[in-house]
Subunit: 119 residues, 2 copies
């Protein structure tokens, strides 16, 4: 799977998004991360593995070292989303401007039409 | 599935991201959207259905009307991502500042130590 698909899949789960939200406040151990949920530590480990493989979290040491959020991976998604959001919104703004201009000037009567040689 | 999970799932596929990128340039029919890919129109229709159910695209009329990108749905994801990215990055910046201050002033020997009565 490509990197961008992996990060989108990783955040397509409410528990994994909650883990990211909590890790934004500070590094935490797997046990600390699992505590508030009514699921096994194993289930949380599995979710963390998905986040780790997507590059969203990392661990400095072994399995017992704290989990650390990698904000650059979030930035990767934001960059993609914002590129197309801005492009679409600019286009809709231009379209609105054209529609507004059209309602000001009835068709066939442009403002600069006093030179008949142009037509 | 919650709305945010739906939009992340919808963009966790390279063809669906490509459809969004192309729709950012302008509305298009299903046939136009399907043309560049080596897949059936039916497959593209299925992908568009996933994007539509997530609120990422809409159609003004029936099945033959052009597909329209909804940039607000992209903004929903950006808002979520940026909230936690900023929070984590601010925390890392503060941590860096603390570490930098610590390396400037070795422990037990603060900069203002020229008054020997202090030690």
């Amino acid at each position: 799977m490509d990197r961008l698909s992996q990060v989108f899949v990783a955040l397509a789960d409410p528990i994994r998004r909650d883990l990211v939200a909590r890790l934004a406040e500070g590094d935490a151990s797997v046990g600390e991360l699992a505590a508030p949920y009514d699921v096994t530590v194993q289930a949380i480990s599995k979710h963390l593995k998905v986040l780790e493989q997507a590059g969203l979290v990392s661990r400095s040491g072994g399995r017992r070292s704290p989990v650390h959020l990698e904000p650059e991976a979030l930035g990767l998604m934001t960059d993609w989303l914002e590129r197309y959001r801005r492009r679409a919104e600019e286009r809709y703004r231009r379209l609105d401007a054209v529609l507004a201009a059209m309602s000001d000037e009835p068709a066939g009567e442009p403002e600069e039409s006093d030179d008949p040689s142009g037509g």
